[in-house]
Symmetry: C2
Subunit: 220 residues, 2 copies
Amino acid sequence: MPRDGNETKQRILDAAQAHVLEKGFAATSVDDIQQAAGISRGTFFYHFPSKDDLARALIVRYGQADYTFVEGFRERAERLATDPLQRALIFLALHEDVFQEMQPEEAGCLFASFSYEAGVLDDETEAIIVESIEHWRRVLGGMLEEAMLQHSPVMEDVDPYLLADLAYGVFQGAFILSRSLGDKGLMSSHIREFRRYLEVLFGVVPARGTRTETGSAAPL
Amino acid sequence: MPRDGNETKQRILDAAQAHVLEKGFAATSVDDIQQAAGISRGTFFYHFPSKDDLARALIVRYGQADYTFVEGFRERAERLATDPLQRALIFLALHEDVFQEMQPEEAGCLFASFSYEAGVLDDETEAIIVESIEHWRRVLGGMLEEAMLQHSPVMEDVDPYLLADLAYGVFQGAFILSRSLGDKGLMSSHIREFRRYLEVLFGVVPARGTRTETGSAAPL
DNA sequence: GTATTTATACTGACCGGTCAGTTTAATACA
DNA sequence: TGTATTAAACTGACCGGTCAGTATAAATAC
């Protein structure tokens, strides 16, 4: 059954990605991948000249999938709301949903995995990661930049692109915490907390005062 | 120069930690470590029965250093302020200073590095990582819990321990972004942004209205 | 419409090298 | 004298990578 070579290639990439996300690239042997993908050793090297080429292919595919996801979420957010802040909040909430449905073994980012394995990727491939982060920054940062024009933030010197980077960082941090603590639900709660930050920063706050606290709101 | 065995052991751990933080544990060979530490192959195995024992020792030492750091910062923060919110803000600012003085090759967390290399550490050693995270959570979360009693947060259902976890995640995420983008300064700005979140959440906000925006502060 | 060719997909044994770990004999110090 | 260290040789498992050959199916030929 030599028909569809591309299907095999994708199966190799799927098996490889799962292994790399769990154990890391260096600790993933070609034999591991070959066995998990249900193919022979020769077939692996038929599709990928070297293990480093596999790494490159993994990053390329991951970057493309990431781009598609982000653009899809952007479009959905733009369809669901006209207010730019609401769009940003929805954009993040859509990510939250995805993470909630993730299997524990998927909870991780391939880019982050390689970030602690310097020297594997060549400069071009590293650039794909940078582009991917910058794409995210452009999309979410752009929404927040627009939001600033319509909602006065409660603080001065708000940098919408720093906020976008921070959101990306929160995702990455939540992945690591989630893996270290074995707590899957952590992902959602961290994203939700970040959304709360945006809400309170842009003044979209549910009315206070219904609470039972002692009262005085004066700070410091 | 066979004098101090412990000094050699520490030199091995130093060299190993630097390599692991850069390339990962699996990609770090005993020869790499041995050469970087300026010792012989035999000496490495004299001090560490196996490479896995080295991993364990690295985590133990890192956990201890982490504990010392956090406790030191907690004490300094408690000395510098009595208000629990201010203590939390100072506690974070002290971390910010440390990260600012970090060399690019140090920018990373050993725990995070191992979080993408499953299977290397035994359960006991993994538990050290969990304890370390929980220690952080107790310290910062405790400060924030106290802060909630004195400052009414502008939102309901604020979970001080979730905020502490989030701060930890922001650190981790900033490390990854910093490494991926090659931007060292990112660390500080992300921590500073998180502190702003706490400020705005607890109502410690510099007066608004001095800004040049169109005016209306009413949201949504 | 069967034989032949061609391109693609795949196999598994094999090779050279590297890795973690062992052993040994000699040596430096306190 | 015992602890710390060195240098070097060695083992065996495993690793990435190669290669000669097989299987398949569609295209081409007769």
